[in-house]
């Protein structure tokens, strides 16, 4: 099964649903989803900028919150460094933490995410692998 994500209609915010073969695949796909959001549809092509690598670590006491905290780390890097992530290298999902080296480009993302909420937060195994759900405040 290929990893995938989709944006679900929500009156004011953005709900992100992610499917992956493994938990790690869900965390990697979250990077792709965020890149899609940060890049400007108005631009001619993908954002270009200096290539950077940043070690990222997130911690939480349950799986859903771990996905939210992972995304919150990426949101912080996007706002403070203008980092649009391409991929997560050396990703390790542990009992209560996730670590990786996030590789991306620094530019001026046109659209930022205000926050990653704890509303309808999910990360669990389903019939086809793993499914994550998170609502973003945009």
């Amino acid at each position: 099964m290929e990893s995938s994500h989709r944006w679900i209609e929500h009156t004011a915010e953005l709900q992100l649903e992610i499917h992956g073969r493994s938990e790690a695949a869900v965390f990697r796909q979250a990077v792709h989803a965020l890149r899609e959001l940060l890049e400007d549809e108005d631009a001619d092509g993908p954002a270009t900028g200096a290539r950077v690598e940043r070690p990222v670590e997130a911690e939480a006491t349950d799986r859903g919150a771990l996905l939210a905290e992972w995304l919150a780390e990426l949101v912080f890097l996007a706002e403070t460094e203008g980092l649009v992530p391409d991929e997560a290298r050396d990703l390790v999902v542990g009992e209560d933490s996730v670590t990786a080296v996030v590789v991306g480009r620094t530019c001026e993302p046109r659209h930022l995410v205000k926050a990653v909420t704890y509303h309808d937060l999910e990360l669990h195994r389903d019939r086809d692998g793993w499914r994550g759900n998170v609502v973003l405040d945009v």
């Binding site: 004011a12 403070t80 046109r110 659209h111 930022l112 990653v116 909420t117």
Partner: protein, 464 residues
């Protein structure tokens, strides 16, 4: 979901008995048509969830512009009281002290021809950064940032010569919440916000150039210093990344402390802590600091607007541009209601004490309203009214129905000069994405919460 029962022409109620976990009823101010629209999403279910908060008093209350949010609906309020009352960061939202400020310029629409109107919109866009990025005119760090967090816009007046003391006096709580403690604001929140003072941001934030189209309550309009045909500027922004991070930090902290406090909730985004707990006190101190930052932000934006007016219309016009008022619509405040102190969470809802000015932005291209609070707000809604038209369509749905470029041309043809950082952002905020602001305002007036004072019509908009 439970059926709302009609209490009177503008008030509906879902009784506390509708669910085992509700402590108080859920009430919504609306007419039948608005209620039908409200029932198309999860707004009322979310309002019922709010009614489960420990220590909530009287009711979870929604305004006619309510729409589905996450945790709390947008357009609602909840008052909690000690000893078991809680404070919930989600009940304020990520954009702490998002709010609106109205400036009144000393000229009429007739004195502003199309060329100068366009030039003014361009000058505002040049003087006030919009969009997602940083690059604000007032990059503050360390002790200076702490001072703004503790004291709000008054520090900018006294130490940077930005704005005037009259501006500060014409601001809710004079731009400073008591109890603000910069030490409770995390280094991350500081980092996100330090370069953003004086910037509008993206999303639904904007600066709108308007004309006073109609005076509905002439006496109160005169007291607010508004004349028919006058040019006004409405600023809508908040605490930017600093506030977003404060809320993020404390939702996480309180989520982890729920079990220790013995709190069970139907939605994790309602995470909360007792008002007198360590977590509750720390959040209130950090939220107050973020609220002060937001007032300083709108204060600095207003300074940029005055400089733009000076660029195009001269120093006298800039000097004569007066602040009508500034109100928050995402904040929690300790207030006296019914003879006791309660913590009023307003999320997408505006304080409307009797006689106080309230600004209700419509969507781009439609009217906005100046209201004045009435006694009914103290009796029925903890001194609160609505905050806008309220979203009707998701951003995706709006973009499917409207193309940014076409919308820009349509607005320009209607005499509204547009300057937007992103066509996508423009389409997401298209007028059809919102409810009818006239209907929303009619309900709060009929309910006795606030009265209409003036209607403002857009003539220019600067959007992130």
């Amino acid at each position: 979901m439970s059926e709302p029962v009609r209490i009177d022409d503008t008030l509906w109620e879902i009784p506390a008995t509708a669910r085992d976990d509700m402590r108080v009823p859920a009430r919504v101010f609306a007419d039948a048509e608005l209620l039908a629209a409200i029932r198309t999403d999860k707004s009322l279910e979310q309002l019922q969830n709010v009614a489960t908060l420990p220590g909530i008093v009287e009711a979870a209350i929604a305004m006619p512009d309510i729409h589905q949010g996450y945790g709390f609906p947008v357009g609602g309020l909840a008052a909690t009281a000690s000893p078991d009352g809680v404070v919930s960061p989600g009940g304020v939202g990520y954009d702490i002290n998002c709010g609106v400020r109205l400036l009144a310029a000393p000229l009429t629409h007739g004195e502003l021809d199309a060329r100068r109107r366009g030039a003014l919109v361009e000058a505002i866009a040049r003087r006030v950064p919009t969009g997602a990025g940083k690059g604000g005119p007032l990059a503050l760090r360390g002790a200076e940032l702490d001072a703004v967090l503790a004291h709000g816009p008054r520090w900018l007046v006294e130490h940077r010569g930005v704005g005037t003391d009259d501006d500060v006096k014409a601001t809710e709580s004079e731009g400073r919440l008591e109890g603000a403690d910069p030490a409770q604001v995390s280094p991350r929140a500081r980092e996100r916000g330090s370069g953003q003072l004086g910037t509008v941001g993206s999303g639904n934030h904007f600066i709108e150039l308007q004309r006073v189209e109609d005076l509905i309550d002439r006496e109160t309009a005169a007291r607010f210093g508004l004349r028919k045909g006058q040019v006004t500027v409405l600023i809508h922004s908040g605490s930017r990344g600093l506030g977003h991070q404060v809320c993020t930090d404390y939702v996480r902290t309180m989520d982890r402390a729920l079990e220790r406090h013995g709190i069970v909730l139907p939605d994790r985004q309602l995470s909360c802590a007792p008002l007198d707990s360590d977590e509750g006190r720390a959040y209130l101190a950090a939220m107050a600091a973020a609220a002060n930052f937001a007032w300083a932000n709108r204060h600095a934006i207003a300074h940029g607007v005055r400089r733009a007016i000076a660029d195009v219309l001269g120093a006298d016009a800039a000097g004569g541009t007066r602040q009508v008022y500034d109100v928050a619509h995402n904040v929690a405040k300790l207030e006296q209601h019914g003879g006791r102190t309660v913590c009023v969470h307003r999320k997408g809802a505006t304080r409307a004490f009797p006689g106080q000015a309230v600004f209700i932005p419509g969507s781009m291209g439609t009217a906005s309203y100046v209201l004045a609070g009435r006694e009914g707000s103290m009796e029925r809604s903890f001194g609160t009214v609505c905050h806008g038209a309220g979203r009707r369509l998701s951003r995706t749905a709006a973009k499917k129905q409207v193309e940014g470029g076409a919308l820009r041309r349509e607005l320009e043809a209607a005499g509204i000069a547009v300057r937007a950082a992103s066509s996508r952002g423009l389409a997401e905020e298209a007028p059809l994405a919102y409810k009818d602001v006239d209907a929303v305002v009619r309900v709060v007036e009929q309910a006795g919460l606030a009265g209409r004072v003036a209607r403002l019509r857009p003539i220019g908009v600067v959007k992130g």
